[in-house]
């Protein structure tokens, strides 16, 4: 199979997919539309058909026969297995499966099927990557998605939650401690400046405190040159 892998690496992406599909479901003869369109394996004719049939409405693919035949009712990542050395997988999946025209060996569950498009309206696909019990997005080490697709997934899930297509867990809002009178000067019109009416003192205790007589006499004696005549 190693020699097969080298040979496969030289063929274009869609022929590669056909062979893999045939290996998975051998008795079914799969007449993929891409195979019937151009038999030549030239890159430019195939790259012109890179746009999948479902690129405008990616949610339709999840109801189509080919999807059901390929995946059934299981999530798209259920039969994917990462290739790595040792028992513990690396904590981050690969950065991306597709660089330019080349696709790597064993691409992740989203990259291996060009009809699967990560879009915020594709709610059924997004739900497959969210845990049904906790509502948290699955880790890429669990699903096998490459980091680029995982980022796109995160963004799409966030947009879907903003638009209300996916349910989100929200905190409980407590209204008991807030005051909504809106009377403070910061949010209401600035109150008029305080002006003294005649006879009123600035501080209310001005009139009530009586100075010590001897202190008063001493101060008056010191400053007697500067006092106003009527004081």
């Amino acid at each position: 199979t190693h020699k097969n892998a080298i040979f496969i690496g030289q063929i274009t992406r869609f022929v590669l997919q056909r062979i893999r599909d045939w290996k998975r479901s051998a008795p079914v003869l799969r007449l993929n539309f891409r195979a019937s369109s151009s038999s030549s394996s030239a890159d430019d004719t195939d790259s012109a058909e890179v746009l999948s049939r479902y690129s405008d409405r990616p949610w339709e693919y999840l109801e189509s026969e080919e999807y059901i035949e390929r995946y059934g009712s299981k999530p798209v990542w259920s039969n994917y297995r990462r290739n790595h050395k040792g028992g513990v997988p690396p904590q981050k999946t690969r950065k991306t499966c597709i660089r330019g025209d080349k696709i790597c060996g064993n691409p992740c569950p989203i990259c291996r099927d060009p009809n699967i498009i990560v879009h915020y309206k594709n709610v059924n696909l997004l739900q497959q990557f969210i845990s049904p019990q906790t509502g948290i997005v699955h880790d890429p080490t669990r699903t096998g998605a490459c980091m680029k697709q995982q980022k796109l997934l995160n963004k799409a899930i966030e947009t879907a939650r903003d638009c209300g297509l996916l349910s989100a867990q929200l905190p409980h809002v407590d209204y008991s401690k807030e005051d909504y009178s809106n009377t403070h000067g910061a949010v209401a019109a600035t109150p008029a400046p305080f002006s003294l009416s005649s006879g009123e003192l600035w501080y209310p205790w001005y009139g009530s405190i009586k100075p010590d007589e001897r202190e008063l006499a001493r101060v008056k004696r010191i400053y007697k040159d500067y006092l106003k005549p009527d004081v």
Binding site: S131, P132, Q133, T134, G135, I136, D162, C163, G164, L165, S167, A168, Q169, L170, P171, H172, V173, Y175, S176, E178, D179, Y180, N182, H184, A186, V187, A188, A189, T190
Partner: protein, 335 residues
């Protein structure tokens, strides 16, 4: 006579005319209804009145299974406890208190007045920059409604920030969980329609109270749209036993459109709730026919329903039929 009306006041919070004459301390919480009985053009009941809140909490119901239904969150292994009967009752009582706390209605407030206050007009600073500068007071111990946020325009005017700018900036400096800086697209018409078709009104309302302040225009707008949709399709049960049922009832009562809700209650055999709803209607619209008739006849219970059906309702036939069936079943069961 006085003793019987006194007990009636204690058991049911309906009219107690006699209590006005006797200076009894227990009539303090019923003073709203007591005063109305003496004046014809009495003031309309407000949302914050004790009696109104009491009726709304009772109508909302307390379905523990719905309030504490399993939500999606980080799971822990389940805990099993062996309890005696008393401990079990104590646990149920605590759960009910927690549920009551969770079911508190969000406040219904009048729309906040826009802030148009210019603090200073400085021609010297005109054209100094093409952007506005916003100065926010970020002291931690200041309540958000007393925080000063001012804007220096490129024309040199120093003005107080508008409510939208205030909300945005307070979210920038003191972020609240779940709130976004700009309102998410779920509150647009087309997205709201999609969500209402999926019967997820409660999610929309939760998002709304997390995102907006209770006295803002967008908050009231979204609430109104949701309540309209619920009333159009008769999906009252979606909000029953949530914290939004009180708001829904208040909106409908103010719009004098309680027929749909009343019919729904009667269909589900919630007679007491229906009676309380009609009572709330009479409190909020004391000048209406049914309120005045009820006052003159001193009606209670099912008589209130009959009076309402006679004078105000569009679906009078159904209501009267339901009341009759209930009375018959009660009479049959008592034998």
């Amino acid at each position: 006579m006085a003793a019987s009306s006194f007990t009636r006041c204690l058991v049911k919070s309906y009219f107690c005319v006699k209590c006005v004459a006797h200076a009894q301390t227990t009539t303090r919480m019923f003073c709203v209804s007591a005063s109305r009985s003496s004046f014809v053009d009495a003031p309309k009941a407000q949302f914050t009145d004790t009696e109104v809140q009491d009726i709304l909490t009772k109508i909302t119901g307390l379905d523990l299974k719905k309030v504490f239904r399993p939500i999606r969150r980080q799971l822990t292994p389940p805990k099993y406890k062996l309890m005696t009967d008393t401990e079990l009752e104590e646990a149920v009582r605590k759960a009910e208190e927690q549920a009551k706390h969770l079911l508190k209605t969000p406040p219904v407030l009048p729309e906040r007045k826009p802030i148009n206050d210019v603090l200073y007009e400085d021609q010297m600073l005109e054209g100094m920059d093409t952007a506005k500068y916003v100065f926010t007071d970020i002291n931690f111990n200041v309540p958000h409604r007393e925080r000063f946020i001012v804007v220096r325009e490129p024309s040199g005017t120093l003005r107080k920030a508008t409510w939208n700018e205030r909300d945005r900036l307070i979210q920038v400096y003191f972020p609240k969980e779940g709130r976004k800086i700009t309102p998410p697209p779920i509150f647009k018409e087309e997205n709201l329609r999609v969500v209402f078709e999926q019967d997820r009104h409660e999610d929309v309302l939760n998002q709304c109270i997390v995102q907006f302040e209770p006295d803002s225009a967008e908050f009231n707008n979204v609430l109104m749209l949701t309540y309209e949709d619920i009333e159009k399709h008769g999906k009252y049960d979606l909000l029953r036993s949530t914290r939004f049922f009180g708001g829904l009832t208040w909106h409908l009562v103010n719009g004098r459109r309680i027929d749909g809700l009343l019919v729904d209650m009667l269909q589900r055999d919630l007679m007491q709730d229906a009676v309380r709803l009609v009572r709330l209607f009479n409190l909020v619209h004391p000048q209406s026919e049914s309120a005045q008739q009820a006052q003159t006849q001193q009606a209670t219970d099912l008589d209130l329903l009959k009076i309402y059906a006679q004078y105000e309702s569009n679906r009078a036939g159904f209501i009267e039929l339901a009341v009759q069936t209930y009375e018959q079943t009660k009479a049959l069961s008592s034998f």
